[in-house]
């Protein structure tokens, strides 16, 4: 299977043209400033399901885009 990412500037392209970028989400329940720093630096939600993420189209327009991807099956939903 080849995963395609819909680039708003260039059209649908294979995932290999893009670089993955994460959107770190620190849980709101963490209130201590040090704990939030630690969480932001190291901890990950590692979502098993649909997650919002950033991709950089390095082979094309060289711009970032945001999309939703289901990490269970790599189905992509454009935002």
């Amino acid at each position: 299977m080849n995963i395609q990412i819909p680039c708003p500037n260039c059209g649908a392209r294979p995932i290999q043209e893009f670089i993955y970028g994460e959107i770190p989400v620190v849980p709101e329940t963490l209130t201590d400033a040090d704990a939030r720093d630690l969480d932001r630096a190291f901890m990950r939600n590692n979502v098993e399901g649909v997650s919002a993420e950033r991709w950089f189209h390095t082979y094309g327009c060289r711009r970032w885009l945001t999309l939703q991807r289901d990490t269970r099956n790599d189905q992509i939903y454009a935002e």
Partner: protein, 402 residues
């Protein structure tokens, strides 16, 4: 009997009890090894291993079966060397043939920086008990005549570290030997028993909720691969884990002997020959996190191309099959073992792309922690709180490809 005919493994079947002293979640190598060493070293047998599919169905059955200890930092060399030694005695200890074979591992450098890294690796390994030496291109050619020292004219081979204790073993036989050894001593292994939640008493974890009902436990150990973030979250523990796919493939039978294993950090692949004569080739992880086991043609194209750069004979072989596993990557490319911060809940995770080689030592050390309540010195550096304490065990250069 033909030695290649599978020996029938004898697993006893049990109904889950209402409670155990120790419940281990995850029936892969690490979970079963923990149970095995609890039973054999500490006489703790009121133990259940819960596996959501069948034993070894996760990464224990998907890895590329390399055993080595040529890591880049002292703590890791000591730990993996313990594992290498336990593997060397594994067959006599378990009385099961797991096709363990010492092969030697060539880690090839193509740049001046790479040469420095491999020289440093040889020094650190020697200083902390692993047998690794730096070898010149001429010596490489003697060890592995198939290598193209010009690297296809693009990646010239400038040297390599040669890890003499590099070995391999049949991965599912390791899993079965551990399961059998543990069960023979009274451990329960429950397959097709998915854990759906944790039983809590305040902050303390006091058992697990399963498809087959709740099971109480004095201690719950997560030896889960791939889904550990969700399990730990139920205990209120945040993990620095991202789960990435890693793909590998095997070719058809290669008629000559390829005795050693070959790896290249620049070309991001490693190759070895299976007992059947197939060439087994793996690569680095996919860049995006995912739990998908989907394999792709792109990987074959790029990894095959890179492998042929160094090993031109691969050109004449055909790819028979490929598969994917998912790797729990930690930020510093080192495992996470020990206390989780939540009472009653221990972790052995972050096994990324280096889990198989660590099965015996990981199991042995986790068993000691469970039995004594004290973190053994060998795994103390790998505790989860190292991230909060700013003492990460950064060793990407040793783990990136394997």
């Amino acid at each position: 009997m033909n030695e290649f005919v599978e020996r029938k493994i004898e697993l006893q079947w049990h109904e889950p009890k209402r409670s155990y002293d120790v419940v281990i979640v995850g029936g892969g190598g690490h979970g079963l090894a923990t149970a095995y060493y609890l039973a054999t070293r500490h006489g703790i047998t009121n133990v259940a291993v819960l596996e959501r599919k069948y034993i070894g169905s996760g990464n224990s059955g998907r890895n590329t079966t390399i055993i080595r200890s040529n890591y880049g930092i002292p703590e890791a060399v000591r730990f993996y060397q313990r594992s290498v030694e336990l593997y060397q005695n594994f067959e006599s200890e378990t009385d099961r043939w797991v096709m363990h074979k010492r092969k030697g591992l060539l880690w090839v450098a193509h740049t001046e920086a790479g040469v420095r890294a491999e020289r440093a690796r040889a020094e650190v390994n020697t200083a902390f008990g692993a047998r690794t030496e730096f070898v010149t291109p001429q010596q490489i050619k003697e060890i592995c005549p198939q290598i193209d020292l010009t690297g296809g004219g693009v990646w010239p081979v400038l040297g390599a570290s040669y890890h003499l204790d590099g070995a391999s073993a049949r991965h599912d036989r390791v899993v079965w030997a551990l399961a059998e050894g543990a069960m023979r001593r009274g451990v329960h292994v429950h397959q097709r028993t998915a854990v759906t939640g944790l039983l809590k008493d305040g902050d303390r974890v006091v058992g697990v909720e399963t498809e087959r009902g709740p099971i109480a436990a004095s201690l719950v150990v997560s030896a889960v691969g791939g889904h550990v973030t969700a399990l730990a979250a139920m205990a209120g523990v945040r993990l620095p884990i991202r789960t990435h796919p890693l793909q590998a493939f095997v070719t058809n039978h290669y008629a000559l002997a390829f005795d050693q294993m070959v790896a290249s950090s620049s070309l991001l692949f490693y190759a070895s020959q299976t007992a059947r004569g197939e060439m087994l080739i793996g690569a680095e992880i996919d860049r995006q996190p995912s739990y998908s086991y989907q394999s792709g043609h792109h990987f074959l194209q790029s990894c095959g191309f890179r492998a042929m750069t160094l090993l031109p004979f691969l050109r004449d072989l055909r790819i028979l099959r490929q598969w994917t596993g998912v790797c729990d990557m930690s930020p510093d490319y080192s495992p996470i073992m020990g206390e989780s911060g939540a009472p009653g809940f221990y972790l052995t995770t972050g096994w990324g792309t280096w889990g198989f080689k660590a099965i015996p030592a990981g199991g042995e050390q986790m068993a000691e922690l469970i039995a004594t309540g004290k973190t053994p010195a060998l795994i103390a550096p790998f505790s989860l709180n190292r991230f909060a304490q700013d003492r990460t065990m950064a060793d990407r250069g040793s783990a990136g490809t394997h």
